[in-house]
């Protein structure tokens, strides 16, 4: 995880967690308090509604009583209800006029048999008989909700009954005021509360309750806090019946929910804002912190022995400034060390080259020295044969001289290039064998007849074999022993036809440690060795596209196997015919 991501997560946790906890706490506390406050208001409203009902009930009672008191004094009414065949127009119209004068919305005047003599809210219903309504109302002491018929349907109201006697006959006056939507709306003025009137067959609700989701009679989003029970009389059907009604005052959860949603919205907004700020701060801080570190890392990545001019110094006083100064100091020290190292390497390289030149020259001079010693011995012991023997060994001297000349040219170029061409391994082996001897070793050449030519530089091939044979002879430590140089044709399934050259000695062999170091530069077991022989051989074999293997056993000798690719289609010429 990047430093930037870690920083971002840390900032988010530090900023947002407290905010979430705070929001949840505020949300819960506000909802609790809003609901408690709403409940107190509902209870107050319930008291007001109950008082309103009582007041309305008393007011209706006073109006109905006043109307009842006027009836005995109304001569036209008296004549209309008592005299047979009298004009009853006045009686029929009386209730309508009295109802409007008394600010009532329902008024019926009935005789002692329950026959409606006059109706204000339903002028056409005179003569209908309904004795139950005044009887039921008389039995009630408090307010009652009454539903009466009108021509257009029904009328719901609070009603009272009173009675009067005229000429010994009893008449009842039933009057009331409507409970309509306006009435309910007036009761439910508080927007956060609902007033619901429940009747046996339906429910009415004040329209003032705001945004209360309801379906039918359900109270989704509302809580009934107070309920006021009232008797209900249904006088709309033929049989007047009594039931129960209830005025429920509900507290809408909507304001609390609105407040909660508002808090949620603000919290979310603050949350998003804080998160955005945290992200920006994390990026800014990470950038501020990681950028110099990235710059240090980038600069450090460019540090190399060849390039130690990288500058780390900054003007900062913080830890990054300390680190950059330390890095600059380190680079300065590296720069000094590198200079010293290069000087040492240069000196070492000169010595190595000198030792290799010495080694190669010694290899080239060895045959000449052997021939000269041989000629000296012949001249001393057999002078007559000197000329013949000189003629026989002259080639060895010349080839050695040529070898040394080529060696000199290559060193002059310092970067020898290969001149590969089909080359006869047997001829090279013969030349090598001809130049050996004199150190107690018996060198055998056993190339396979008809050996295919190899694709190699003959000079390089001779350097390889000179080194291998020289090492083999040296491994005999001056004791009697044999060195056998063999060559066989073979076929490798990856590279095709090859020629395997083997140089086997009967010397001391190598243990595992010596073997693992044998091809390293400057490793040698010889007192005057350069340590470059086998390493040069390995490099030259590789230059020729061949492979090199070692089989050795301490005390029993070593066999070097060199596989070189055969020249395609070339066959060997006479021994020594190819250089």
């Amino acid at each position: 995880m990047s430093f930037r991501a870690r920083l971002l997560i840390a900032l988010l946790v530090v900023v947002l967690l407290p905010m979430i906890v705070l929001a949840l706490g505020v949300r819960r506390e506000m909802r609790t308090r809003v609901i408690a406050q709403s409940d107190r208001r509902v209870q107050a409203l319930a008291r007001v509604i109950a008082e309103d009902f009582d007041e309305t009930h008393a007011s209706i009672g006073a109006a109905v009583a006043a109307i009842a008191r006027t009836l005995p004094d109304d001569g036209a009414f008296r004549a209309g209800v008592l005299a047979a065949g009298a004009d009853r127009t006045h009686v029929i119209d009386f209730a309508g006029k009295a109802m409007r004068a008394a600010a009532l919305t329902t008024l019926q005047i009935r005789n002692d048999s329950g026959r409606i003599l006059s109706s204000g809210h339903f002028p056409g219903e005179f003569d209908r008989i309904d004795p139950a309504l005044p009887r039921l109302l008389s039995a009630l002491s408090g307010p009652a909700i009454v539903e009466t018929r009108t021509a257009e349907g029904s009328l719901l109201g609070v009603a009272r009954v009173d009675s009067v006697r005229i000429a010994g006959r009893s008449f009842t006056v039933v009057g009331g005021r409507a409970i309509d939507q306006r009435f309910l709306d007036r009761m439910g003025r508080d927007e956060a509360m609902g007033v619901i009137l429940r009747l046996p067959d339906r429910t009415m609700r004040a329209r003032s309750a705001i945004r209360v989701e309801t379906s039918g009679d359900s109270l989704d989003g509302e809580r009934i806090v107070q309920a006021l029970a009232l008797p209900y009389i249904d006088a709309t059907s033929v049989e007047t019946t009594q039931g129960d009604a209830e005025i429920s005052i509900t507290s809408s959860l909507t304001p609390a929910d609105d407040l909660r949603r508002s808090v949620d919205r603000w919290t979310l907004a603050a949350f998003l804002l804080a998160m955005g700020a945290a992200v920006l701060a994390a990026f800014w801080l990470a950038r501020r912190l990681s950028r110099p570190m990235e710059e240090l890392a980038a600069a450090a990545a460019t540090v190399d022995l060849d390039r130690l001019d990288v500058r780390f110094a900054t003007g900062r006083d913080d830890e990054i400034g300390v680190l950059s100064r330390r890095l600059s100091s380190m680079v300065d020290r590296l720069r000094g060390s590198a200079a010293r190292l290069r000087e040492a390497e240069r000196r070492a390289t000169v010595g190595d080259v000198a030792r290799q030149v010495n080694h190669d020259i010694k290899n080239g001079l060895a045959p000449i020295r052997n021939v000269v010693r041989h000629l000296s011995q012949v001249a001393r012991e057999q002078p007559s044969e000197l000329a013949g023997i000189f003629a026989a060994r002259q080639g060895t001297i010349e080839s050695s001289i040529e070898y040394l000349e080529t060696l000199a040219r290559n060193y002059a170029r310092l970067s020898p290039s290969l001149a590969t061409r089909p080359c006869d391994v047997s001829a090279v082996i013969a030349e090598i064998v001809a130049g050996t001897g004199g150190r107690g070793a018996v060198v055998h050449a056993r190339p396979e007849p008809g050996l295919p030519l190899v694709l190699a530089d003959a000079f390089v091939l001779r350097r390889i074999l000179e080194n291998l044979v020289g090492n083999a002879i040296d491994s005999l430590d001056g004791k009697a022993g044999e060195v056998t140089i063999g060559a066989d044709g073979a076929t490798d399934h990856r590279v095709g036809a090859t020629v395997r050259i083997t140089v086997r000695d009967t010397g001391r062999g190598m243990d595992e440690r010596e073997l693992s170091l044998a091809f390293d530069d400057f490793y040698t077991t010889k007192p005057n060795g350069t340590g470059l022989g086998l390493s040069v051989v390995r490099r030259l074999v590789a230059d020729l596209g061949g492979t090199l293997k070692v089989e050795t056993e301490p005390g029993r000798g070593t066999t070097i196997l060199v596989d070189l690719p055969a020249a395609p289609g070339a066959r060997p010429a006479a021994i020594g015919g190819a250089r």
Partner: protein, 495 residues
Amino acid sequence: MIGRTRLLPFALALTACRPGSGPVIADPPSIVPCRDGSPGTGHSDTTVIAVAGDVRRGFAIDPQSAAERFVVAHVYETLVRVDCEGQIIPGLAERWTSDSASRVWTLTIRADATFSDGTPVTPDDVLTSWRERRSIPGAALDPAALAVDYVSVDGARRISVHLRRPSPDGPRALADPAFAVHKGSMAAPNAMLGSGPYFPPGDQDVASTIAMKASAVLVPRTAGTTPVLVVRDIPSGDARDVVDGGADVIVTADRRVTEYVRLRPGFRIVVLPADRAYVLVSTLRRIDPVARDSGFDAGWAAIRSSLERDIVRMRVPQPRDGWRGTRDIAESCADDRTVPEPRRALTSAAARSRRLVYPSSDRLAGEIAQRLVALASDEGGPGGRAGLSALLPDWFERTDVPLTAAALTDAAFERALMQGNELAYVAVVPRRSLDPCRSWRRFVAAAPWARPGLPIFLADASAALLMSARAPAVMIDFANTIHVLQSSPPGGVRR
């Protein structure tokens, strides 16, 4: 319908037709009934008449309101008139005879008949006037198109009218205002001259108060004063204001005004003959109006009695003729090919309401509807639910949903009546008509689903004529339009 194809025989009749052989002489009645012949003691030259409705521009062509009918009756004349008892009395024509089939009536224009500009009224003026009226839009329902086949001119004062159907009791159809005679182009309706005793005011679109001056026909130019009739509308608010406002003659159907006038000294109240009837038209009714049973008659009688006593509260004089029940419609219009068959199917029962609707502008209709609703829920007596059940059994068989009343605006009521999607309607039909089936034709036009047996006559109604002490003598015609009488010559009315 009089179409263009009728123009040729109409024109040929101008010169070719002669009175038929053996004409029957029908002398006009010498005494005009239905008249309040005693003018008030304080009669003056200016008389204020209060009748309902404005007077529109072009009212002469198709008078609608009572005010327009009043003005037309005083500005224009028809050849004959029909009084409130159905008697044919002279108009422009002083006498009339018919052929033996009572289809061709020859009328003689009175010698002194002149337009208000003094030019005499000729048969050609009558013909021109009728021809022009026939061409107006909507003439298909006009009585002129339905009653008259063609017309011929016979001499300088005689005109022969060929009716579509025999009319044994006289050329009653010609008393319709549609046969009023005018001079001038109908393209300029306010410039149309009439031969009546008054001439109309100047050019105006709609007026709630207009003043008509007596023309030279009524008052010789040498006379000192010119009688003036001021016609004013009765406001829709409190109509009693016109009583207090000094109106001399008031024609009103408002019961409150009549009751108020009873309390005022110096006013006389004349209840006019029934001119309209409230009918109950139910879309569920299935009773055959002709073959009704005793239960129907008993229920009907009880309800009518209750409504007339307690709702209408007025003993309305019955006209000598006119409809009294659905049987009258079915019988009188059975052979009338001009009465269309029901041309629209009723809305399905399920789509209909359970309401009894009435026009909100008609207070009496509302009271009748409310009373019917009350009776529908009253279990007692033949005038209650039992009576209604006998009349409309389907009301109480289909559902237990209570019947309710609903007031509709006039436009909504017309739409509902056209669609037939309410349970029942309290509607108004004319109580009498010059053409017995004309009212029914109009009703069917308003309720295309109606059949002659559907309307149940509930209550007759009429207006009351309220006359102050200054009121002139007036008479009432067939349509309860009042005519101001300026003098009463021996043997008849001189206008």
